[in-house]
């Protein structure tokens, strides 16, 4: 406990130091605050993209899902190599346009293509907003939950939850405020490295504890047949759902504002090309390793039937704790005395997962609200310096509001807003995916109209909303059991996009005017 506490405090101090260092190198311009002067190199770009994608939900939840559902969930990792390709293919085009025209947010690029349409800008901002807000709230909640899991002793769990959530929020807000993108990216380098190393060490420790690779495979092969087949124990992962997830989920997660801004911030096309390769090779293997931990956990701590339902083993408590349990059990066993230090570093790595996602989303939300709302609709005459300070104010206000919600939700289980936000997080990526059709049109096809793009996004968002718990309908449950919800929204989105574009084409691209009547034609010569 003491070693873990010292490691955590040291880590938080380092983050504050990074914030100060970022502040000393910063200039008071939007381009510098949001995009680090468009000068991010390979390490910062690759690791910040990976760390932003790998939230606490990924570190704890994905192995938890593999523990619960078995091998079926491993196929989720197979969306990542394609996602790596999207980093380059999409990212290099976005970066080029951003550098040429001074774009900062996704809406800058998309709305500009459609003639500066306010409707398009608001829809793009809404796609981002619906992704970012649930992530910020749930990362802060995750920080409190992790603090409680790691540091709580009898009777002080709620106090530790509050302290953890507040400390994590304060430090994250501190370094984002001070250094902007520069500090966020530098801290993501540390956080991403800790997370990835932590996953691989935990995987090695788990496999080793189960008797090496052959022992691991033998024990896992002896799991019940439902855990070794598709659609998994809870019947949640049929092949069509896995396929639509693999095809679209990765791309959807890359058009969210936090990632889009990272494309603008990359120094060059070569930086993104190399980052894409690093992403494609490292992240799928890390994710696969984390799920192998979950699968091993299922063999070591089989779920139990409680009140007629399958629940996590009593020693684990909940599915999401399987990684933490295996870390505590087997890393000191593998590494001896040094294992305690490594365990502390990895625990910090798990906390880092919450912070690296929260910082990116807070920073991106500030850009979206400042550029797409404040600058366009509130004070168009605001100076760049004023907008940079408004962005900082947004970060403080949103973080405090999220912290208040989380603390209230923890104290009162009936407090509905946090539960509603948690429900929205499950479809956050599906909301974000609704920006994809317009993005593809802007970057490659160039055939859509502003009205088509905006109404397409509106229809896609509305479709996704129909699959949230707020709109309970049996058909929705059947569809979402077999297909990715984001994909369903995109189908509707594209259909509306095409239909409205035909009805209201872009200027200069409408149907050819009818031929002029013969009387108005020039008389034939001679």
């Amino acid at each position: 406990m003491t070693v873990q506490l010292v490691t955590l405090v040291t880590y938080l101090v380092v983050l504050v130091g990074i914030g100060v260092a970022g502040f000393r190198r910063s200039k008071l311009t939007e381009e510098d605050y949001y995009l680090a002067g468009r000068s991010q190199g390979l390490a910062a770009t690759a690791l910040t993209i990976m760390a932003t994608m790998f939230s606490a939900a990924a570190i704890l939840g994905l192995p938890g899902a593999a523990y619960k559902d078995g091998v079926a969930f491993l196929f989720f990792a197979l969306n990542l190599p394609l996602t790596g390709c999207v980093v380059y293919v999409l990212g290099s085009k976005i970066r080029k346009l951003g550098a040429e025209r001074g774009y900062v947010t996704p809406a800058d690029l998309v709305a500009d293509h459609y003639g500066g349409s306010h409707f398009v800008r608001l829809m793009v901002a809404l796609c981002g907003f619906l992704f970012v807000v649930p992530y910020i709230v749930m990362q802060i909640k995750g920080g409190g939950y992790l603090a409680k899991t790691v540091f709580a002793t009898d009777g002080n769990a709620e106090d530790i939850f509050d302290t953890g959530a507040m400390l994590m929020t304060a430090v994250t807000v501190g370094y984002v405020l001070l250094g902007g993108m520069r500090s966020v990216a530098w801290s993501d380098v540390i956080q991403g490295t800790l997370m990835i190393l932590g996953i691989f060490v935990t995987c090695v420790a788990t496999v080793s504890a189960m008797g090496g690779i052959s022992g691991y495979l033998e024990k896992v092969s002896a799991l019940p047949a439902e855990a070794l087949s598709v659609p998994g124990v809870s019947n949640s992962y049929p092949p069509f759902k896995l396929m639509t997830l693999a095809l679209f989920a990765g791309a959807a997660s890359l058009v969210q504002p936090g990632q889009w801004i990272r494309f603008y911030a990359a120094r060059s096309r070569a930086t993104l090309r190399r980052s894409a390769l690093v992403f494609s090779l490292v992240l799928p293997l890390a994710l696969m390793a984390s799920m192998l931990v979950g699968l091993g956990g299922r063999a070591l701590y089989p779920p139990q039937v409680v009140d007629g339902e399958l629940a996590a083993h009593a020693a684990i408590g909940s599915n999401d704790r399987v990684v933490l349990q295996l870390m505590e059990d087997h890393i000191p066993e593998l590494l001896g005395g040094f294992g305690v230090v490594v365990l502390s570093l990895i625990t910090v790595g798990v906390v880092a997962a919450t912070m690296s996602t929260a910082d990116s989303n807070l920073h991106a939300l500030a850009a979206v609200i400042t550029r797409d709302v404040y600058d366009r609709f509130v004070r168009p005459q605001a100076s760049e310096r004023e907008r940079a300070w408004v962005g900082r104010a947004v970060i403080v206000v949103v973080a405090l509001l999220a912290l208040w919600l989380v603390r209230h939700g923890n104290a009162d289980p009936d407090f509905k807003p946090v539960k509603m936000i948690a429900d929205l997080m499950f479809v956050a990526m599906a909301f974000s995916a609704q920006l994809l059709p317009a993005t593809v049109d802007v970057l490659w096809l160039k055939r859509g109209s502003a009205a088509g793009a905006a109404w397409g996004m509106a229809a896609g968002l509305a479709t996704v909303f129909c699959f949230t718990p707020f709109v309970a309908w049996d058909g929705g449950r059947d569809i979402s059991r077999n297909l990715d919800v984001g994909f369903v929204g995109m189908v509707i989105n594209v259909a509306v996009f095409v239909a409205v574009t035909r009805l209201r084409p872009a200027p200069g691209r409408g149907p050819a005017p009818p031929p002029a009547p013969p009387s108005s034609r020039q008389p034939p010569q001679g």
């Binding site: 079926a72 196929f75 989720f76 495979l217 092969s221 598709v230 896995l242 090309r273 696969m288």
Partner: protein, 88 residues
């Protein structure tokens, strides 16, 4: 470089890119997609074939197609993406 040479090189690059894109789509359809029906253990069978070569069949299937996907990315990085970059 003569115009037609650039044109042919561009055409070759596009062809390679298209082949790799098609290969990635096939890898996704076979790996986490409908290809799973080829190897998924039949739970109605009293003794479903969940393991092969001492490992769960679906684990081997996932790792195999992951390896294919990673190979495609490395080829794209070394050939298609490099060519595109030199083009501008």
């Amino acid at each position: 470089m003569p115009e037609n040479a650039t044109c042919c090189r561009m055409r070759g690059m596009t062809r390679r890119g298209l082949i790799l894109t098609a290969a990635m789509v096939v890898a996704i359809a076979m790996g986490p997609g409908v290809g799973l029906y080829l190897v998924n253990p039949d739970l109605d069978d009293p003794e479903p074939a969940v393991a092969a070569l001492g490992a769960p069949v679906l684990l081997l299937w996932a790792l195999g197609w992951l390896a294919v996907q990673l190979t495609i990315v490395v080829i794209a990085y070394r050939t298609v993406w490099t060519d595109e970059e030199s083009d501008g």
